[in-house]
Symmetry: C2
Subunit: 309 residues, 2 copies
């Protein structure tokens, strides 16, 4: 068993990520006690039924009362409210982190709401599946994946120690950890995650709205590439709504680039410029090689989870 890093872990918002952190942290022996707070009656019932927590409550302040680590795993735009509701219960010296896909907005929320004497360290595990809810969680979700922490620019020893401990926690869960500036994080993720989701949602929507091709045909012949987009476009709607709203500027910036490139590609097709198409299609192949070499195409627990249903 690994070292106990936090005596009590409080998870605020217990969906796919929150429940996976609980499974992984218990499996690694990194925590002794787990409390959960969630606004949904249904989620709390499932958390209790699954035996995920020692205490399940609708009151964030009650959940965080004895917590050494508070993990905010609600949708991005719900985090500030949850934190404000929890603030009065926070223990001095506790570390507060989150798992949201947008970090700039969380840094600002932490600055507004966190009381003194509590260490706010925003975080983001880059892992997930298109499943949602506490039943979807599993311990291996973070294995070999990256977790990015975007700590404040503080150099005092207690804060540094809090960042180090949180780093050790994610490593105990199987993740690699990287520290990054929150603004840069939001730009990188706009490229590697937010735009891909936006594009996938959009293409599935376009396909569903066509008059000349039926939805049945789209589904039947989806093996030609489309079905990969349907998987991404099945991700949690509320979470992704919040991501796009919370990271609006970076998303629109990257989307602008994408649209510009797409217009050029469209023009090359219209004018039959085969050499331009071939040049791009050859160049993109090299990136794939990089993804495979970097081990980012390692077996992923979400593959197979919806197979055969």
């Amino acid at each position: 068993m690994a070292e106990v890093l936090y005596d009590t872990l409080a998870v605020i918002g217990c969906g796919l990520i929150g429940s996976s952190v609980i499974h992984a942290a218990r499996g690694a022996g990194a925590v002794r006690r787990v409390t959960v707070s969630d606004t949904s009656d249904q989620v709390r019932e499932r958390v209790s039924a699954l035996g995920l927590a020692d205490l399940v409550t609708s009151d964030p302040a009650e959940a965080v009362k004895d917590a050494d680590l508070v993990l905010l795993a609600a949708p991005p735009l719900a985090i500030e409210g949850a934190l404000a509701a929890a603030a009065s219960g926070l223990k001095a010296g506790a570390t507060v982190t989150d798992v949201g896909s947008v970090k700039g907005a969380i840094v600002e929320a932490f600055a507004r709401v966190l009381p003194d004497g509590v260490h706010g360290v925003p975080g983001h595990p880059i892992a997930g599946t298109e499943q949602s809810g506490p039943d979807a969680g599993f311990a291996a979700l973070f294995h070999g994946r990256w977790t990015i922490l975007t700590p404040a620019e503080r150099d005092d020893a207690p804060y540094r120690a809090a960042v180090e401990r949180l780093t050790a926690f994610w490593m105990a869960l199987g993740a690699n950890v990287e520290l990054m500036d929150a603004g840069h994080h939001d730009l990188v993720l706009a490229v590697t995650s937010h735009l891909p989701h936006l594009i996938a949602y959009n293409i599935v929507g376009t396909a569903a709205d066509l008059e000349e091709v039926t939805q049945g045909e789209v589904i039947k012949y989806s093996a030609g590439g489309f079905r990969d987009f349907t998987r991404i476009a099945a991700s949690d709607p509320i979470m992704w709504r919040d991501v796009f709203l919370a990271n609006r500027e970076a998303v629109l910036e990257i989307l602008g680039r994408f649209t510009e490139d797409l217009q050029a590609l469209s023009r090359a097709i219209r004018w039959g410029e085969g050499d331009k198409l071939e040049e791009l299609f050859t160049r993109t192949r090299a990136i794939r090689r990089g993804v495979i070499d970097a081990g980012q195409e390692a077996p992923d627990p979400n593959w197979g989870r919806d197979r055969g249903r």
Copy 2:
């Protein structure tokens, strides 16, 4: 063993699809003899080394000499040339088909080049991986997938029999077969395959060109959605160049719809219209359910093939 449907199968252009047809047809006992013609020295060497064919040649007319089924599996824009080169060798009563992702252009090429007394039945197995070349082929590629045939509007008995035999051939290889008008095929595939590939190529290109985010970062944090696009964007560059050029009108039509929808989505993000985002993201989830229910998310042999490299 199933019935022998064609004594000799000639495959013109032996990459992923051509070699998979050979593996599957031999495995099913649907053919007795296989000949291969390919313009590439390297491909012919590999075909010989792999023992895929009884005759390997650079001359299409030689390959088709005794063939009862001629399967054109070269890139779309190379098909007419290959067929013209083979025409003098074609046996009376033979069936000529292809596997291209665009059918209108093939119907026209067949009309221009096919001699009388030969049955041209364009076809398209909707199956593939991002791998290319004769080493990438495997027998299970067509299992549970759809093959669309777009026969000519002819009602004579010999032609009808040729279409029926080709249907039986694809079913022997494990595929489901559907007959369709060539123009409709090209529109359906523009949605379910061509646009997804175009979008994937484009987003990977956009990501590679950013100054603020390095290629290393894009690769490292690709698990957030991007890596699925890199797989699609690793597909054969020549083949896809040809697909976009050969199906220009349908691709540009569908791309226009996509871009329009994307502008609306961009506007909703800019103006913080969360309800519009949530409505779309909820609607797209239902399509995913359809893909799974239709069995189009069945275990796919290409998954895992590049894992762990």
